[in-house]
């Protein structure tokens, strides 16, 4: 992989972003914020403390992972599919001196950078409602970037394997929604049946939630090393599978 090729792909993304940043920013920030406020006020009025935290602290840090998920897996899925199938953008990119792995990597890095930024929005909103800033929070963009890279690649992988837009519904309903709910975002996974809490351990979103919470309220070195490793492994596997599937799709 060469930097020059990836720069070309990144420039394409960045110039395009200048044309549609408003709608992307809107959807990537408003939706998690609505979850945050709805759960924070609705649920927060019923429970005062969860896992030793004020509920707004619990959910405010948890929703960071939601924002990361939404701002990375959806662009990974939808914009890849549009570029591949409708706009034929990749035909043009791959006719240039760019290979499939450079294309996938550069696009995923760009989505991850956006997720790293949008992921911080829930924290800022939660601060307005009583979450206290802490120095550990400065590392949240890095966590969000790392998780975002994996989810972006996961989205690309899905896009490469789907024949039509309708098929995305299956993935959203059967895969993303359960992962989104069983991640310890809105309630601790310890409250779930044994099986679900075991499954949460293989949910990258859960590891993202835990890391962000620990960054805000105090790291737990042993556990956090595992959470970080889980995100890195997820990113590596998703990248590998995305490149492989896209190559199969784009190169006859």
């Amino acid at each position: 992989m060469t930097r020059a090729s990836m720069t070309g792909v990144l420039v394409r993304e960045i110039v395009n972003f200048s044309a549609y940043w408003r709608s992307t920013t809107f959807s990537s920030t408003v939706e998690p914020t609505i979850y945050l406020l709805a759960f924070g006020f609705g649920f927060g009025s019923l429970v005062s403390q969860v896992a030793g935290l004020e509920y707004i602290e619990f959910v405010g840090t948890g929703v960071v992972a939601t924002a990361v998920l939404f701002s990375s897996v959806f662009p990974g899925m939808f914009s890849t599919f549009v570029k591949y199938k409708l706009q034929r953008t990749y035909d043009a990119v791959l006719a240039a001196p760019v290979d499939v792995e450079e294309l996938v990597t550069a696009e995923a890095l760009w989505i991850a950078a956006r997720a790293g930024t949008y992921g911080c929005v829930p924290l800022l909103v939660a601060m307005a409602f009583g979450l206290d800033p802490s120095p550990g929070m400065l590392i949240v963009p890095v966590i969000a970037f790392t998780a975002g890279f994996g989810w972006a690649c996961f989205g690309v992988l899905i896009a490469a394997r789907m024949k039509s837009f309708d098929n995305f519904n299956y993935v959203i309903s059967a895969v993303l929604t359960p992962l989104f709910l069983v991640a310890g975002t809105f309630f601790p996974i310890t409250a779930l049946p044994e099986l679900a809490s075991v499954l949460a351990q293989v949910n990258p979103l859960y590891h993202c939630v835990e890391l962000v919470r620990h960054a805000a309220f105090g790291f737990q070195p042993g556990a956090d090393a595992i959470h970080l490793a889980a995100l890195l492994v997820f990113g590596a596997l998703a990248w590998w599978a995305a490149v492989r599937s896209m190559r199969r799709r784009l190169i006859d």
Partner: protein, 299 residues
């Protein structure tokens, strides 16, 4: 000493499952010439184009572009070639200028030369006045011109044009022909696939006729006509039964003949003995060769 060819395919084969899209294609594009790849739909032209950018990998054969072997050295070759796709894939939300800017980066134009490269492309596409227009505000002809200019932004040594005027109205087609002809005059090496015979006849120094994944004939248009269709043709008009009669008679005598919808043409009449049927005498053309060799009717 003649320069090495810009493209050289030797017995290239590309299969898709049980379908063989390219079946042992030999093709040579000498530097500084425009070669037309002429064939009916499904002849394997688009697959050939994809082979040349390594977006399809050949199952067999030797492929060389700009002295680089494909697919392994394709990237180095791609850096020095421009591709005008059949299907418009401009970034619609971006302006004309932004589309060109993106391509200066994709093709690694040095920072100091980017501005000039974009201006040159704008002038070539005659879109200087529309530089800040979004692509979705442009007419079909303007978009096509931009697509060609975009492919030339890095001054490639080789330009691939895949059906450059398909689906355009005649006036826009003429306009693009003028543009392509100008590039040819400037010595840009081109490979242009097309199923429009007139396009190949007008623009190509040499034409390779493709059918069922193979080259069935290759050479300068005039030479192809002389070689395969002779100098003159007699075109017979009449009711259907009369045409059928003429055809059967021609076949019986071993005369080259072809159907042209409302008429039957007997080809190379200057070489034939015997009583030719009554008809209109005309000069043989590339269309005659095309139909004769591909067995394809003209729409």
């Amino acid at each position: 000493m003649p320069a090495a060819p810009a493209i050289r395919l030797h017995r290239a084969v590309k299969r898709y499952g049980s379908i063989t899209a390219v079946a042992g294609l030999n093709l040579e594009v000498p530097a500084g010439t425009c070669v037309g790849l002429l064939g009916p739909n499904g002849a394997g032209k688009s697959t050939t184009m994809r082979l040349l950018t390594a977006q399809a990998i050949a199952d067999e054969g030797e492929l060389e572009v700009l002295g680089r072997r494909l697919p392994e050295d394709s990237k180095a070759a791609r850096a020095q070639m421009g591709v005008v796709p059949q299907q418009d894939n401009l970034d619609e939300a971006l302006t004309v200028e932004q589309n060109l800017l993106v391509f200066t980066h994709l093709y690694r134009v040095a920072r100091a030369e980017r501005r000039e490269a974009i201006e040159r492309a704008l002038a070539l596409a005659k879109l200087g006045e529309r530089r800040r227009s979004k692509v979705d505000e442009l007419s079909g002809g303007m978009r096509r011109r931009l697509l060609i200019a975009r492919a030339l932004v890095h001054r490639p040594r080789l330009l691939l044009l895949d059906e450059p005027t398909v689906g355009l109205d005649p006036q826009v087609r003429q306009e693009l022909w003028a543009l392509i002809d100008r590039l040819r005059g400037e010595g840009v090496t081109m490979l242009m696939s097309t199923h429009y015979i007139e396009e190949a006849a007008r623009l190509a120094d040499s034409v390779t006729i493709m059918a069922e994944g193979r080259a069935v004939a290759a050479g300068p248009p005039a030479w192809l006509v002389a070689e395969h269709a002779g100098r003159e043709a007699v075109e017979v008009y009449g009711p259907a039964h009369r045409l059928a009669e003429v055809e059967v008679d021609a076949r019986r005598r071993g005369w080259p003949a072809r159907r042209t919808g409302t008429s039957v043409s007997i080809l190379g009449t200057e070489r034939l003995d015997g009583d030719l049927p009554e008809g209109e005498r005309r000069t043989a053309n590339l269309e005659d060769v095309f139909v004769l060799l591909t067995g394809e009717e003209i729409e």
